[in-house]
Subunit: 198 residues, 2 copies
């Protein structure tokens, strides 16, 4: 019943892109609407606030991204190989973003988290949720690697947090320096953390 529209999807996509290329604070509702080709009245027909759009579009983007991650971290793939592939995909994604926007953009979840976590509770809660889920991919890969005797990691959650913090730190440096080469050392650094010689 009633009319149909893809304005909601267009708004979510515009918001995601603007947050990633810029920041939440400097992204105005007018900008979002312009990029999405949607009038402001329609914006507030679909979303009750700018924050709600952000939460919804971040959530939607993560749900999409998880599909790829589920493949990357498939139990069929050797455990450490999963992690190296994940790093390669980080790199590929950042390359694409640099080609498209002329800038290395890093991880939108962390950039947004750094910006809003003291001021926007709803957004912060969503970001926490996503980050906590992400760590589980590392965690289960490391647990598998430990049980296969590939690495020595009796405390895989702790080790996963180290790898995670390290990877996010690198991604952030890549954004700040607008330089993909920071990502080159990701695997080597992780090997060092995992205590793998080579």
């Amino acid at each position: 019943m009633g009319r149909t529209s893809d304005a909601k999807e267009r708004l979510m996509e515009a918001m995601s892109e603007l947050i990633w290329t810029g920041s939440y604070g400097t992204t105005s509702v007018d900008q979002i609407c312009e990029r999405a080709g949607v009038k402001k009245g329609s914006f507030y027909h679909f979303f009750e606030s700018k924050t709600e759009l952000a939460v919804t579009s971040i959530d939607h983007g993560w749900t999409e991204h998880r599909k790829k991650l589920d493949q990357t971290f498939s139990p069929v793939i050797p455990p450490l190989e999963r992690i190296w592939r994940c790093f390669q995909e980080f790199r590929q994604e950042q390359e694409e973003m640099k080609a498209k926007h002329g800038r290395v953009l890093g991880c939108p979840i962390h950039s947004l988290g750094a910006e809003v976590s003291t001021t926007d509770d709803k957004l912060r809660d969503k970001l926490q949720e996503i980050l906590a889920q992400f760590i589980r991919y590392y965690e289960s890969a490391l647990r598998d690697a430990h049980f296969q005797g590939i690495i020595d990691a009796p405390d895989s959650p702790a080790l996963a947090r180290i790898i995670f913090a390290y990877g996010e730190g690198l991604l952030l440096h890549a954004r700040i320096w607008n330089d993909l080469s920071h990502l080159n050392e990701m695997e080597a650094g992780a090997r060092r953390i995992l205590g793998i010689k080579d």
Copy 2:
């Protein structure tokens, strides 16, 4: 000659605090002025723009912070001890900030970098400069540790970048989760990265 004033210092301090507790984008000139007890006309007597105040106050804060770091990383102190002390000071500072503001604030340089590095060139350049300087503390400590045979680190700059990225990642997680306990594992994680058993 003429009148003297500490309004400039008050503005810098207000800006630093507001950036740290919130973000650059959500900090308005009016807010800064109110907190500093300075009228807007005076603001623009001392600074040509909001960006310039941010650059100046960040720079000033770093110059102050370096004094402490120079002591922490004194060549007199055993090299790895310097790093552990630095971590302890991170923790102490975050504890103080949490007591004062009710929130874990993380590293203002990185939070700011995540937010503005795609949009504000002057600010980004300043942040890059500071971060590059910070890494050197780790770097020289690691070089010393290597030459003293305490660790195996032929490529100390690369290792310093790993430790740095890791530490910043943890600080960011502490901010996002508003939880100091993320910092507890800092030394243990760094030991693992450095390949130290214990």
